[in-house]
Structure formats: C-alpha cells, structure tokens
C-alpha cells in the first residue's frame, strides 16, 4: 500500500468521522487536475479533440467504477451523489413499473434519502413496507420473504449502515429477490470500496455509490443499472439524454475522473486497508474496554466494516462528551446534536433504549487514521467519560446499586 501520511494540520482535531465524509486522496486530486484546465472539453462534444479527450476521461472512470463492483461499464451512470442515485433508483423504478406493481420494501434503518424518497412515493399512492431489523442491526431474511407480494417491484436495502457500519446479508437478499422476480436496489454509499461487491454474485440490480465516501470528490456519485435482465427507470432529470437517458446534464469531467480514480485505488488497496483498519478498530475498542466499564457496541461487531464503531458510554450524554473531546471529530446519536431533539432512529430501531441512544458516539476510522491517533482518542475518551461520570447522577445511582429503571422519571 502506498504510504501517505496526511494532511491534517496540527491545529485541527483528529478526524474520526469517516462515515460522514472522507478527505480526498491526493492521488485522486492529481488525476482530476488536468480536467479542470486544459482537458476542459464537454464529453458530449463529438466533433473535436476537446470533447474526445474529456470523453476518454469519463469513460475510463466509468470502467474503473464498473470494475469495482463487477459490472459492465455500460451499466454505470454518473449522478451528483448517492442521494441522487437513491432517489433515481427508487422513484425511477417505482414510476416506470407502476401500472403493474406498486409495492416497495425497504428497512427502517436506511439513510434518510431512501426513507424520504419512499415517503414521497407513499404520498403518491405507492405502498411501502418498512421492515424492522434485529437487535444486531441486520435484516431477518424470513421477514423479508414474508413481506414480498405479487405487487412488489423493488426491495431497497442498504449494503452498510452509515451509523453502525453493519453489513446486510446482500447475497441472500439478492437471491430471494431474484427468485421472486423483484428488483434489488442497494445503497452502497458506505460499502463500495470498503468491502468486495460483485453485482453478479450478489444479484444486485441497482446500486448507489458516493464519491466522497471513498476518498473521492464531493458532488459525484454513480448508479449501477443492470442491463440483463434489464431494469428500466423513469429519469428524474431530463434534457440532452446523457447517461443512457437516465440522467441528463453535461458530465462534470473532473469529478467523474476523481470518482473513477478513487474507485480504482479502493479496489487495489481494499484487502490491505481492511486488515489495517480492523487492527485499528480492535485497538480502539480494546483500549476503551480496558479502562472503562459500562460501554456497549451498538450493532453487530462481526458483520461490520472495520472502519466503524458505534459505542454507547452509559451514564454520559453524547453531546456533553463531544464538547469535552474537542480534539476529536466524531458524531453522536444523541438527540442534543440534532435539530429534532430525537435520538438516532437507527439505534432506536435496534431496540437500543433511549437513554443509551443519548450516550452514543459514532467513531469512523479510515485511510489516514494512524495508531497514534487511535491511542490519543482512547485517552481523551477515557478521561472525559470518567470526568462526566463523576458528575453524572445516573452513574452515582448505578454505583449505589440503584436500578435507574425502577425510578419514576417525569418525562419532559
């Protein structure tokens, strides 16, 4: 693996939020640069060298993305990101097939852009089933089987969850969908480039990919759309008919090239990086467990990408913990960090109790995370969790052996 020691200025906190976004790999930037300046042509211009040169860039990128997921390059279309890809996949399929089928199945732990797309379709008269997940965050296949009807057109299940990092059983879901002749869409924003994905082996019909989650640029993503058997979509954005008519608009050549390069690097380095991240994940978790009691990992630890940990630190509220660990950039499932004042719906769907959801942190490790950063993070977390527990009435009660659930709290 190419050693890159990056890029963090000393005055910046340690970045441990790789599920939110990733820094762009310098190799990606390098590949993009010429397309901002002298290779500026419109990849749709067929009549001169500027266009051909740009097209060369976008088509190489398309092939790089296709290769990452075992697809044919004709099956990859560029979008502005995974949100658009998810919108296009779900709405596009729903609208195209609506005369025959009007039922969509998804899960309650999907990303908001999938859930919100489904809500919009419900308002337009489609039926949507939101499947629960088990306590480990994984979909129960029997529940899926039972939910499929003759009217089901699409099953949309994310490959890897953005909050808890768990990997859904894609192969089994794909097999069930193929048997029942239902399209299978997966939001692979958090999965592509991190775990091996093969659309043939997994029977995936549509797959959403994001650039900035895989060390590529923001503002670009891709949607894989299967050709055999053919998946048809009603486009969301119409115009010049680019991208097989599924997504009009001039391609942002530098961004496409960046996504392609990012995909290729991920593919080459996936095995080594996964091993390295697994060690860092274990180092983090073992470090915390050695020095703190009453911490709980949310979501299955085994079926999980190595770059994610989601941990509840009992008796310590998440936002106050984040205020303490100023030197660490992480995110929290606590209500207090959200505008809605509701704790994470993903953790709630796992059956994590509200008081534990309030105490959760999502820690994301990635390509540029070092052992030293992990050790520093463990020290800071331990110090602040202990400090906050010292001032937590719930911790005090727990130490005195009082069952917090036995108290009648006045909800406010």
């Amino acid at each position: 693996m190419t050693a890159i020691t990056q890029i963090r200025r000393n005055d910046q906190p340690i970045y441990l939020d790789y599920q939110a976004t990733t820094p762009m790999d310098p190799r990606v930037l390098e590949a993009m640069m010429p397309y901002f300046t002298h290779k500026f042509g419109n990849s749709g211009s067929r009549s001169h060298a500027y266009g051909w040169e740009a097209e060369e860039g976008t088509e190489k990128a398309r092939a790089q993305v296709a290769k990452l997921i075992g697809a044919d390059e004709k099956e990859v279309i560029f979008t502005s990101g995974a949100t658009e890809s998810n919108n296009l996949a779900i709405r596009g399929v729903a609208e195209f097939y609506k005369d025959r089928k009007n039922h969509i199945i998804t899960t309650v732990t999907e990303h908001k852009c999938v859930l919100d797309t489904c809500r919009h379709l419900e308002q337009q008269g489609f039926e949507v089933t939101y499947l629960p997940v088990r306590q480990d965050g994984l979909l129960d296949l029997d529940v899926l089987r039972a939910a499929i009807t003759d009217k089901t057109v699409l099953v949309s299940v994310m490959a890897v969850n953005n909050e808890i990092g768990v990997i859904q059983p894609l192969a089994e879901i794909g097999r069930i969908c193929r048997e029942r002749k239902v399209f299978f869409h997966t939001d692979a924003a958090q999965a592509a480039g991190k775990i091996p994905l093969d659309v043939e082996a997994l029977n995936i019909d549509l797959m959403s990919i994001s650039g900035h989650k895989i060390y590529g640029p923001k503002g670009i993503g891709a949607l894989y759309v299967r050709r055999k058997p053919r998946v048809r979509l009603v486009p969301m954005i119409v115009g010049g008919g680019q991208e097989r008519g599924f997504r009009s608009g001039t391609l942002p050549t530098p961004l496409c090239v960046g996504l392609g390069e990012a995909a290729e690097i991920c593919m080459k380095e996936m095995d080594d990086e996964a091993k390295r991240l697994k060690k860092l994940q274990e180092r983090m978790l073992n470090g915390l467990r050695a020095k703190l009691t009453d911490i709980v990992v949310n979501g299955d630890l085994e079926h999980r990408i190595p770059g994610n940990l989601n941990i509840s630190f009992a008796y310590v509220e998440g936002e106050s913990l984040m205020m303490g660990i100023k030197n660490l950039a992480v995110s929290s499932g606590s209500a207090c960090t959200s505008a809605s004042l509701e704790p994470s719906y993903v953790l709630r769907a796992l059956g994590v109790e509200e008081e534990m959801a309030h105490t959760s942190l999502r820690i994301g490790l990635g390509r540029f995370t070092t052992e030293h950063e992990v050790d520093t993070a463990v020290d800071e977390l331990v110090r602040h969790v202990n400090k906050l527990r010292e001032m937590s009435p719930l911790w005090e009660m727990a130490q005195e052996g009082i069952d917090i659930k036995s108290i009648e709290w006045a909800a406010h």
Partner: protein, 130 residues
C-alpha cells in the same frame, strides 16, 4: 453548536459538583428530568440555622447546556434564603449563559431542580416540626 464563553466555562470548570447526604435534615434534594430525554439533574441545597443556603451541590447527566445551567444555579443559590432562591427564573439562567433556543429546556430543568430541592427541604422541615 456555538456556545457562549460563560457556558463553556461552566462546562469545563463546573462549580460545586458532588453530593450531600440526602437523608440529612438540613439538606434538600431535587432530582428532575429523565434519562430517556437525555437529561437528569440532581441539585442539593444545605440550609444553615440562619435560614440561608450555605452550600449547594449538583450532578447532571445531560448536554453541555444542562451541565452549565445546573452549575450556574448552584452558584446563584448560595447565600440566598430559600424564598429568594425560589425566585430564580429559567429566563435569567438562559440569558446569563446565552443558551440557544433549542437548549432553553435545560434552563427550565435547572429552575425545576431548585424548586424540587426547596420543596424537599421544606417537607423535611415540616415533618420535623410535627
């Protein structure tokens, strides 16, 4: 979220953390909030023979604003009579710490905590008088 310097100071250097013996006659304890809502405050006052609050302690599970609000009120109640302490308003707390609108409930909780501690102290005093 951008917090005021005063709030951050109270979060980073909280005043009067700790606990008194809640069974003591000169101690009033207020426990308000709920773990499921993400904030619980325990506020205790110790009332002297002269009727003045001579000491106060708190423990809080909650966001930075909740910690700061409870830390602040422990400072404010000290040296006051319980009647005076009872007049502390959540709006004063919110203004002093420049709480953002979504955090106003933290100041409400702090006011509730004082009131609950005072009520507890009074009920003990009444029992004693009987």
């Amino acid at each position: 979220m951008a917090y005021s310097e005063k709030l951050i100071d109270h979060y980073e250097n909280p005043r009067n953390i700790g606990s008194f013996d809640k069974t003591a006659e000169d101690v009033g304890t207020g426990l308000v909030g709920a773990p499921a809502c993400g904030d619980v405050m325990k506020l205790q006052i110790k009332v002297g023979a002269d009727g003045l609050i001579e000491d106060a302690k708190f423990k809080t599970f909650g966001c930075g604003s909740a910690i700061a609000s409870s830390s602040l009120v422990t400072e404010w109640v000290k040296g006051k009579t319980i009647d005076e302490a009872e007049t502390i308003k959540n709006t004063d707390i919110a203004r002093h710490l420049a709480l953002p609108p979504v955090k106003i409930h933290c100041s409400v909780l702090a006011e509730d905590a004082i009131k609950a501690a005072i009520a507890d102290y009074r009920s003990k005093a009444t029992k004693k008088a009987e």
